[in-house]
């Protein structure tokens, strides 16, 4: 019998989808594989490729087997195709087909829509690895370096997951799309990645943590809605990816939290009471809280753009088709078709922000973005609890969703982080108060010096409270290859 829980390591591609008996797809993937390995090898600096990194690999997709920790050289990481176990008699959870058996094959009428969604999701995965490729060189500790690489190899695996769906279910054009995922490149002039935020640089570790906190959280919400898809293989793929995505959320939240903590501690030690005495705080070799807030403003607003227009026909069609659901669709209590429901959507009316009710079906993006805002607020609350515990008078805040936007209703206006609409001239004169400047970036960059001794941390970030896999504080998370 086909073993669909435990991972098959017989083929070069570990999988729990019975690849060894699916010769066509196996062949297609094996053909794609060298290109992927080349992409990976060209990307990550050589010394890290040769290093032994304490990574987790899934040996099965049930809760007990999916986090097996050991030292691995990254190019030897077993990127595989892992789908969450099939739920018996799963039904399409939403839209006009709600209640019908979930599709095990792509329904012809939604083929183009599904392919597009999978390609967009797939495009973000390698993009973030590209954006983060240089960070290893300035890692503030071996612990952080290990976390970076864990995020990177799992983003790589998520690319595999999407490529598998393309190869398995979309024939020749799926193969073409899979090749294009390796052809496009973050920040490239001729073939950039598809979404804006994935062409921005990730120049320093604060940016990395903000990116994993805010931008990967958009990824999480997109995966959540695809996990509700009526196309079962996509749903199962995304459900397993979400388990891994939680680690990326963890890296972001604790990364920012540890920077905030170190700053507050350093201020206390030096007797600095005013968090806005930026130069005094920077002289301590830590990142001042107002600059951290500016970085938050930037990454949050870029991430909100990823949700698209508040009112969207595409999103309505995808929901109605049952191709994409809402966050936690199966736990919601309504008709799952949104026949008569309305949803409050922000709009600009005569220079004022108002919320007005529109058909809920057209407001799917807005709703997911609201869920995202709630989810993102949790970590900010916990960072503030840390700041308060140390006794520094400062609070981080999420800016108004209309601040610094390029997509949706707010793209046409300028707004302060508090949500006051301002003129273009005022925006130009004040934007450096709210968004990181080149000088801010240069300062952060000046702190980015590697700290690679086991158990040691750069001076601007606090050690974690718990080790990965409960390892002791001086555990050597990366055995560096120093040739």
């Amino acid at each position: 019998m086909l073993d669909l829980i435990n991972v098959d390591y017989d083929t070069i591609i570990p999988n729990n989808v019975g690849l060894s008996s699916d010769k066509r797809v196996l062949k297609a993937l094996e053909k794609w594989h060298p290109g992927y390995i080349n992409w990976w090898n060209d990307l990550i600096p050589r010394q890290f490729q040769e290093s032994l990194v304490y990574l987790r690999t899934a040996v099965s997709v049930d809760p007990k087997g999916w986090a097996k920790f050991d030292y691995v050289k990254m190019p030897e990481y077993r990127w595989g195709i892992l789908l969450a176990p099939q739920v018996e008699d799963r039904r399409i959870p939403c839209g006009e087909h709600a209640g019908e058996p979930a599709w095990q094959e792509v329904p012809g009428e939604y083929r183009a829509m599904l392919r597009r969604l999978i390609v967009i999701q797939g495009d973000t995965e390698p993009a973030s690895v590209e954006q983060q490729r240089h960070l290893g060189l300035t890692a503030p500790s071996l612990y952080d370096m290990r976390n970076l690489f864990q995020v990177n190899v799992e983003e790589g695996r998520h690319l595999w997951a999407m490529v598998y769906l393309l190869q398995k279910y979309f024939g020749a054009d799926g193969r073409e799309e899979a090749d294009d995922l390796l052809r496009r490149s973050s920040g490239s002039e001729e073939a950039p990645r598809m979404l804006g935020a994935f062409n921005e640089a990730t120049p320093d570790w604060l940016s990395f943590f903000m990116f994993t906190y805010f931008t990967d959280r958009d990824g999480k919400m997109q995966l959540e809605s695809l996990a509700q898809s009526g196309f079962d293989p996509l749903s199962r793929t995304c459900r397993f990816m979400l388990t891994e995505e939680a680690h990326h959320m963890f890296v972001g939240e604790t990364g920012v939290g540890r920077i905030v903590q170190r700053t507050c501690e350093a201020m206390k030690e030096a007797g600095i009471e005013d968090p806005y005495d930026i130069q005094a705080v920077r002289n301590l070799g830590v990142i001042d809280l107002p600059t951290i807030q500016k970085k938050l403003n930037l990454h949050y607003s870029l991430s909100l753009d990823l949700f698209g227009s508040e009112v969207s026909t595409n999103a309505a069609n995808a929901f109605n088709a049952g191709v994409k659901g809402r966050y936690q669709e199966v736990k919601l209590e309504d008709d799952h078709q949104l026949k008569d429901a309305t949803y409050p959507v922000v709009q600009l009316v005569e220079g004022k922000v108002v919320r007005s009710e529109v058909p809920a079906l057209s407001a799917i993006n807005m709703r997911l973005r609201d869920d995202y805002v709630n989810d993102a607020a949790g970590g900010v609350k916990r960072w503030n609890a840390q700041i308060a515990k140390i006794g520094v008078p400062f609070e981080m805040t999420l800016p108004h969703p209309g601040f610094h936007r390029n997509i949706g209703v707010f793209a046409q206006t300028r707004m302060t982080p508090e949500g006051t609409i301002i003129s273009e001239a005022e925006w130009e004169s004040r934007k450096d108060e709210w968004l990181p400047t080149k000088a801010d970036g240069d300062f952060i960059q000046s702190l980015m010096v590697p700290c690679w001794e086991p158990g040691k941390y750069a001076g601007w970030i606090a050690p974690p409270r718990v080790g990965i896999d409960n390892k002791p504080g001086d555990f050597e998370y990366v055995q560096l290859h120093m040739a």
Partner: protein, 398 residues
């Protein structure tokens, strides 16, 4: 007063509210509000499904409590409460669980009692997994081999039984045990109780990267479980629970010197220790001593394979009590003839001592240690207690 119970808690200061644990829990024992994610003590059955998926480590928190914290209480927390200061006799139960099953925990506590105080794992030991499988939800192993270790004319039948775990995830460390209950019922119609057996293979299997483990089992005349195991044929299925044990473990640190003292099937964990070291640090020499007692060479398990381990890797000292024409010798006698080396090792902070075998061997071994220590001006009890506190003195006897 209620008997103290172990309660599973989530650290709200470390948890990132990703709710992965909640998704993983098969019985809905984990819930959340806007503030916290919490485990309902009245439903949690310690299946441990939530542990591995947690990205933060916040899930792996335990308190021994007289009355469990309610869900509402936990939802209001901003940090974990400290461990209650329970009465001395209950505090000895320690928060590093050897097993979460009371019966198994009691068996292990009894086996470890000879160390004279609460057992602790070596500082550099790998972190063990315990209680992945319970009798309600056992792992099913297939017998891959069942070989007699003692020669045909020996007076005991000790067997090396290899159990294949197929695709099941059953992570073990050398020194851990598994639980086996023979099928069927006793004279009162109750299911047979579970027995613990030390694993005698290293963590990566009999051969590297094989998902199997081996046990060393002696056939006892009236032993229901030992006869069941010793008679198993290749291909037969056995239900396993565990793994159990979180203190009788191998230090990962290669500076650690090991003195291993055993009789009979007490050699099982030391086979695992030796094989692990040979695999993980093949060039390591002069770090392991073995004192092994049996009636005769023919009845000493693994006598043949042991002799093949180079003396500079493992210094072997056999003591035989029934060899015709020779004086009776017990492990403590062999220890005394090596007193200089043992005394030297006792002064070294890297030395770890392990005693494993029948309860009857404890007093003789203790006495030998006391005499050897006294000979170099050391107080054995103080040395032993310090070593035990530092996770360097381990006893497992039955």
């Amino acid at each position: 007063m209620n008997a103290p119970v172990k309660q599973h808690l989530i650290d709200p200061e470390i948890c990132i509210r990703c709710h992965t644990c909640e998704e993983a829990c098969p019985i809905g024992a984990i819930t959340h509000d806007d503030n916290n994610v919490v485990v309902d003590a009245s439903s949690c059955n310690f299946c441990m499904d939530c542990i591995a998926p947690c990205p933060t480590g916040s899930i792996d928190n335990w308190r021994v409590v007289t009355a469990p914290y309610s869900v509402d209480e936990q939802l209001s927390w901003t940090e974990l409460p400290a461990q209650e200061d329970l009465a001395a006799e209950t505090a000895a139960s320690d928060t590093t669980a050897e097993a979460l099953d009371d019966a198994v925990a009691a068996l292990l506590a009894e086996a470890h009692a000879g160390a004279g105080g609460a057992a602790r794992a070596p500082k550099s030991a790998a972190r063990p997994t315990v209680n992945l499988y319970s009798s309600a939800k056992p792992a099913v192993a297939t017998v891959q081999g069942n070989y007699r270790l003692t020669s045909d004319n020996a007076d005991s039948d000790v067997r090396h039984i290899i159990l294949d775990l197929g695709g099941q995830h059953f992570p073990v460390l050398e020194g851990q045990s598994v639980g086996i209950a023979p099928p069927g019922a006793d004279a009162n119609g109750k299911p047979h109780r579970m027995r613990l057996y030390s694993i005698s293979s290293p963590r990566d299997g009999e051969r590297p990267n094989t998902n199997n483990l081996s046990l060393t089992v002696k056939r006892e005349e009236q032993g229901v479980c030992s006869n069941f195991l010793c008679d198993l044929e290749r291909g037969a299925k056995v239900n396993l629970t565990g793994p159990f044990g979180s203190t009788f473990l191998l230090p990962e640190n290669h500076d650690a010197r090991l003195i291993m003292i055993c009789t009979g099937t007490g050699s099982a964990p030391f086979r695992g220790f030796t094989m692990r070291r040979q695999r993980s640090a093949p060039d390591l020499t002069e770090k392991m001593m073995l004192f092994f007692g049996a009636r005769t060479p023919e009845s000493l398990p693994y006598f043949g394979p042991l002799k093949k381990v180079p003396e500079n890797v493992l210094a072997k000292h056999f003591a035989f009590s029934r060899v015709t024409g020779s004086t009776k010798q017990y492990v403590q006698d062999r220890m005394r003839t090596e007193s200089d080396r043992i005394a030297d090792a006792l002064k070294d902070e890297h030395t770890h001592v392990y005693v494993c075998g029948l309860k009857a061997m404890e007093s003789g071994v203790e006495e030998a240690f006391r005499d050897i220590a006294r000979g170099v001006g050391l107080d054995w009890k103080a040395v032993r207690d310090q070593m035990r506190e530092e996770g360097r003195y381990h006893v497992e006897t039955y």
